[in-house]
Symmetry: C2
Subunit: 296 residues, 2 copies
């Protein structure tokens, strides 16, 4: 039912227009930014960078197969050649790679862990659909769950968003550097979950993912485009907050707190259509992508 | 050490040449076929299809983002228009989607399951590296392990290869059809593990994966190329068994029975280089890809 879909606030959208493809077709990528309490320092920087039109004229400069597509200033690491950053960016502490459970789930609901499912009891109380939830065993963290449309992983103290396909993160140098947000990447392969809580995530691509995932792979180290192969960088025409874009549709996601989502997740874990002979009875968190669509 | 690398028998390689890309660069894809006891009915069919040059002049006709790239005869489902199949293909039973544990691990070694790691005790006895093995919790099966260079999943009775990135499988119709091997696909996104034991795997791409993963996505249902978008199908020039290809390099994989592999798997689960702040202490089976390289 339509009531199980939640509208995405246009204030949380970022619109990146790449140069048209070889056939002249437009390439627009729409990114949904993470809500509080997650990554708000970097998300704030990203908003400032977009407002300053920092990314206009930069490029997609790294495409590593089964890993990430990365964009921003290709000379960002070069103190002489780097494009100047706008004023007012903040340096975000490493601790903000994750958020305290109390800040994620309101204290009034508590966080009584369901030992079978590693999910807060409040989650089930609201849904009354406990039996529908699939098992999501995880090699990377004690708990995995969904919250306000996002996959989360962590422990009984802190949680972070999850490096699933299409999530967008912040490139950085060696610790304690945490990155400004000027260099971003998206996951184009099997979920690199080892990056969870080691790099900041700031959102996910909700439309136009194919424009990032189908780019030619780079042949330099780590998939950086190699000038010796000809200039394969993809020009970024503009990156804008949605409020500056006139023709953007509305988007909505299937509420992860709804019965519909629980049924959807269950269907991902227990494929009942006649194509399947066997059902796994489980699914990993990145194989249950939260449905996002254009609103009618 | 070189002794921990195992040569791949050229008799197990299939070479697919796509039409050159828009810049005239060659696109060669090398596929390693699964060894016995896995999928041998379909692997035999694939050998016959290659020997009959069945795929020459067919195409890559489906690219679904975060899922699969599929190739063969685009009219394969159409009884009138379908390209005739060579004689001698066998119909493989569904049971062969997996293999009995006794046939995978020699009976002399037994299959005494290590309850901590869900791996055969013989595995550890040989390696004497038990402490190095990472935890691989799995939402899809009771056991996950590596065997002769391949990821396996299943239970204490039967195991199958795993739908990780780059694995190659057999397109099929509704059960009890199991597919001939004429229509093949490879995984280009997050591992679709729900396909394990529901579809036959016949091997994996060991070189040229980018030529499959970076293709434009199809805009018809399920990522099939849509004629209305112009003909985006990628012509297949030829598919040959390696014995018919003169200029093919030798390949080798890091033996999954070696101490080096155990250390590699451990390093994937416990990232110790200074870039990382936290280590997960585990990894999922598809995030530990078996290293394959050209032999010197």
């Amino acid at each position: 039912p339509q009531t199980d879909w939640t509208g995405i606030d246009p204030a949380d959208l970022l619109v990146m227009d790449l140069a048209p493809d070889a056939k002249g077709r437009p390439r627009r990528v729409v990114i949904q930014l993470l809500p509080a309490p997650f990554s708000q320092g970097w998300v704030g920087n990203v908003r400032k960078l977009a407002a300053a039109k920092f990314w206009d004229g930069t490029s997609v400069y790294r495409v590593q197969d089964n890993y990430v597509t990365q964009w921003g200033d290709p000379d960002g690491d070069d103190k002489v050649k780097a494009k100047p950053l706008p004023k007012g960016l903040v340096e975000v502490p490493e601790r903000d790679y994750s958020s305290a459970v109390d800040a994620i789930w309101p204290a009034s609901k508590g966080y009584v862990v369901d030992k079978t499912h590693d999910l807060p009891a409040s989650y089930f109380t609201e849904m009354e659909t406990k039996a529908l939830w699939p098992k999501m065993k995880d090699s990377y963290s004690e708990t995995v769950t969904f919250w306000n449309g996002w996959p989360l992983a962590g422990d009984y103290d802190r949680n972070s968003p999850v490096h699933c396909y299409g999530m967008v993160g912040v490139g950085r140098d060696m610790p304690p550097n945490t990155g400004t947000g000027a260099e971003l990447y998206t996951v184009i392969g099997h979920a690199p979950r080892h990056l969870d809580r080691n790099i900041a995530l700031i959102g996910r691509i909700i439309e136009g993912m194919e424009h990032m995932s189908s780019l030619p792979r780079g042949h330099g180290p780590l998939g950086f485009y190699d000038a010796a192969q000809g200039d394969e960088r993809v020009p970024i025409v503009s990156v804008r907050l949605a409020e500056e874009v006139t023709d953007l549709p509305r988007y909505e996601y299937l509420s992860t707190e709804s019965v519909s989502f629980a049924k959807y997740a269950d269907a991902r874990a227990n494929r009942r259509d006649p194509f399947f002979l066997r059902t796994a009875g489980g699914a990993d968190v990145c194989n249950i992508p939260v449905p996002v669509r254009r609103a009618k």
